[in-house]
């Protein structure tokens, strides 16, 4: 088979992996080719608006597993291909020299068994590091169920490892991915966590799960994420809206992937990681799913309107973070600036802080942006939803979270 055809098959079957981030590693160049860029670099953006940072391919799409949702499942009749380690190395080097990519993202179908597959991955990555002297970014999949020593071998060669959670619950796995068990998945995660160091997956580990293939609520999903973050020090959890590629009576029939829902989950995920929210702040047994009309932070603010408006010149860092439209960067700017002068609405504008949403929730030196009569839930909600409508129609922000973290 020609290289071009292999590339088509093996990139096509790798495209459902959400992550493409190349951040978190500052691997040095040792007179070979490449280095890490700590902030990550996007090299292109594909027609679906997702960032292309890494050469994202499968080593092979042959697979002994039969996960219902997966295009590469054993029972599907699709064309199969397998890259040789040399082919992968040469593609990576040729693309990297031309600055098409930041590195390699190598995943694979299960060939024979998890151990054999891992050995093949290790062989490829080892060749790339040692014979081709490549010190760019490498993200590899660790295969759940592979022995610990193989996970350790792979970990010292790569910048990031990821282990797919696949589905947010054990029952979901049983139903759709009968060959996988969350016990094995989490065991591999814990091996990575225990060994992590400056030379072992310096950019940490991540995971991804499919949203909308099984019946979990947003509350179930966020609880699972929060739990994974805490237990395994994950860098990221990626959410991948279910796209129907196979027909099976166990699978839902969705015409379009649930992109809006995926977007809300990413927003909530950021609130957990950078804004000090807990899952129980955002959702609870009565509100199991996110509001589709407004983002989770606005939703929280509207439900806690008694805590607002916040005085920009006095509110603590954490209180500032609770204001819709103000993130860590803006909050820090505000705190630095107010030591020197009293901040007015004009100043906020000058500082490049977007007031579109924030204005409803803040006071500047005791002043509200309009007559205080409008500080009512209905009015604010109406205005923010109208603004949100523009956003959904353009989907301008929809995929921004796929950029580098």
């Amino acid at each position: 088979m020609e290289l071009k055809e292999k590339l088509t098959i093996l990139a096509d079957s790798a495209k459902y992996d959400a992550s493409c981030s190349s951040s978190g590693s500052d691997r040095k160049n040792e007179s070979g080719l490449g280095n890490g860029a700590i902030s990550g670099i996007c090299h292109s953006f594909s027609n679906d608006g997702r960032c292309i940072s890494l050469l994202k391919i499968l080593m092979t799409n042959c697979c002994v597993f039969d996960c219902k949702y997966c295009v590469n499942r054993k029972s599907n009749h699709v064309k199969r291909a397998i890259f040789t380690p040399e082919e992968i190395c040469e593609l990576t080097i040729s693309f990297y020299r031309r600055n098409y990519i930041e590195g390699l993202f190598l995943s694979s179908g299960i060939l024979r068994n998890p151990d054999y597959t891992m050995e093949k991955l290790i062989e490829t990555v080892s060749l790339l590091r040692h014979k081709y002297h490549f010190s760019g970014y490498i993200h590899a999949k660790a295969i759940p169920g592979a022995s610990d020593c193989l996970v350790k071998k792979l970990g010292v060669l790569v910048d990031r490892l990821s282990i797919n959670t696949e589905l947010p619950s054990e029952s979901g796995l049983k139903l759709l991915a009968p060959n996988k068990q969350s016990k094995k998945i989490e065991h591999t995660m814990s091996v990575v966590k225990q060994n992590r160091s400056r030379v072992f997956t310096p950019a940490g580990q991540s995971t991804q799960m499919i949203i909308g293939a099984t019946k979990e609520t947003d509350y179930n999903i966020m609880s699972k994420s929060s739990d994974l973050y805490q237990r395994y020090d994950l860098k990221r959890v990626f959410y991948s809206a279910y796209i129907s590629v196979n027909k099976d009576k166990l699978l839902p029939t969705l015409e379009l992937p649930p992109l809006k829902r995926e977007h809300r989950l990413y927003q909530a995920d950021f609130l957990l990681r950078f804004y000090h929210y807990q899952v129980d702040d955002l959702l609870d047994r009565e509100h199991q799913n996110f509001n589709v009309l407004v983002d989770p932070k606005v939703d929280w603010a509207l439900r806690h309107l008694n805590e607002f408006p916040k005085e920009i010149n006095q509110a603590s860092y954490y209180d500032l973070l609770k204001v819709p439209g103000i993130g860590p960067t803006s909050a820090k700017k505000i705190i630095e600036s107010r030591k020197i002068f009293t901040i007015t609405f004009q100043d906020l504008k000058k500082m490049g802080i977007s007031l579109k949403r924030a204005k409803y929730f803040i006071l500047c030196n005791g002043v509200y942006f309009a007559s205080k009569d409008i500080f009512q839930k209905d009015f604010i909600e109406k205005n923010l939803v109208l603004e949100g409508r523009e956003l959904t129609s353009t989907q301008g922000r929809q995929l921004s979270l796929f950029g580098n973290e």
């Binding site: 990139a11 292109s44 027609n47 608006g49 997702r50």
Partner: protein, 249 residues
């Protein structure tokens, strides 16, 4: 008030010297411009500050420190029309508030400097990804760029660090400046210092470009197509030398 236009030879050092001269002599300029971009007209009188042996850069860095001078250099490398006047007001205020100048975002000039610097860094970061090398017959790599800001230095150093064993040339099409790297040193040359370069692609080049385009089109998920989002992150102004966007543009 006067109608002098203060001219400086196009270098950071010269600009700093002009600013130093103006601040020392308490002159409030209406216009400062580099000689290379200045077009004479009837209404204003061009004026060039006489050069001396005084090293203005050393003076500035001693007085204001690295962080402030880094920001000032970013502004100098930007394409902002009023960058010289912005820097003038920025340094006037830096003299007044040497320790807190960067927190004074309520001052227009401070805010402008921080925003322009941010913009220059953002473009540099983007171009570290969007620049495309093509391989030539003798194995060296060649890239053309067209950027808003003059970021060739930062890009060249980035690739020197990243690919120390490769020979490469980056050509800034807007400014007619080349960066050459020969696996040891980086050289920056003007158009008039470079003999016409004639380039032939290596045998592999077209094949690799085809593979890259194949990958680019395959990796997109049709069900999620979102061209607007794509353009948000990768504006059309950068498409000219992006191999994968050629057919589309």
């Amino acid at each position: 008030m006067n109608n002098f236009v203060y001219l400086y030879e196009d270098s950071f050092e010269e600009l700093l010297y002009t600013l130093y001269y103006l601040i020392q002599n308490k002159i409030r300029p209406m216009n400062i411009q580099s000689e290379s971009t200045y077009v004479a007209n009837l209404f204003d009188s061009p004026f060039k500050v006489k050069q001396t042996n005084f090293s203005s850069y050393d003076y500035f860095i001693k007085r204001f420190g690295k962080e402030i001078m880094g920001l000032a250099r970013d502004v100098y490398l930007s394409s902002h029309e009023k960058k010289e006047l912005i820097l003038y007001y920025f340094f006037v205020n830096a003299c007044k508030y040497p320790d807190t100048i960067l927190q004074r975002r309520n001052l227009k000039c401070v805010n402008a400097v921080l925003n322009i610097s941010h913009y220059v860094h953002r473009e540099t970061h983007k171009m570290k990804g969007f620049l495309r090398f093509q391989e030539m017959k003798n194995g060296f790599l060649y890239a053309k760029i067209e950027t808003e800001n003059f970021i060739l230095f930062a890009l060249a150093y980035h690739f020197k660090k990243r690919m120390p064993m490769e020979n490469f040339v980056i050509q800034d099409m807007k400014r007619g400046v080349y960066a050459f790297y020969d696996t040891k040193n980086l050289y920056f040359l003007n158009e008039d210092q470079v003999k016409e370069l004639s380039f032939d692609f290596s045998e592999q080049e077209m094949y690799m470009e085809e593979l890259w385009k194949t990958f680019f089109h395959t990796i997109a998920i049709p069900e999620r197509e979102n061209r607007k989002c794509q353009r948000n992150f990768m504006p059309k102004k950068y498409w000219k030398y992006l191999i994968e966007m050629e057919e589309i543009s």
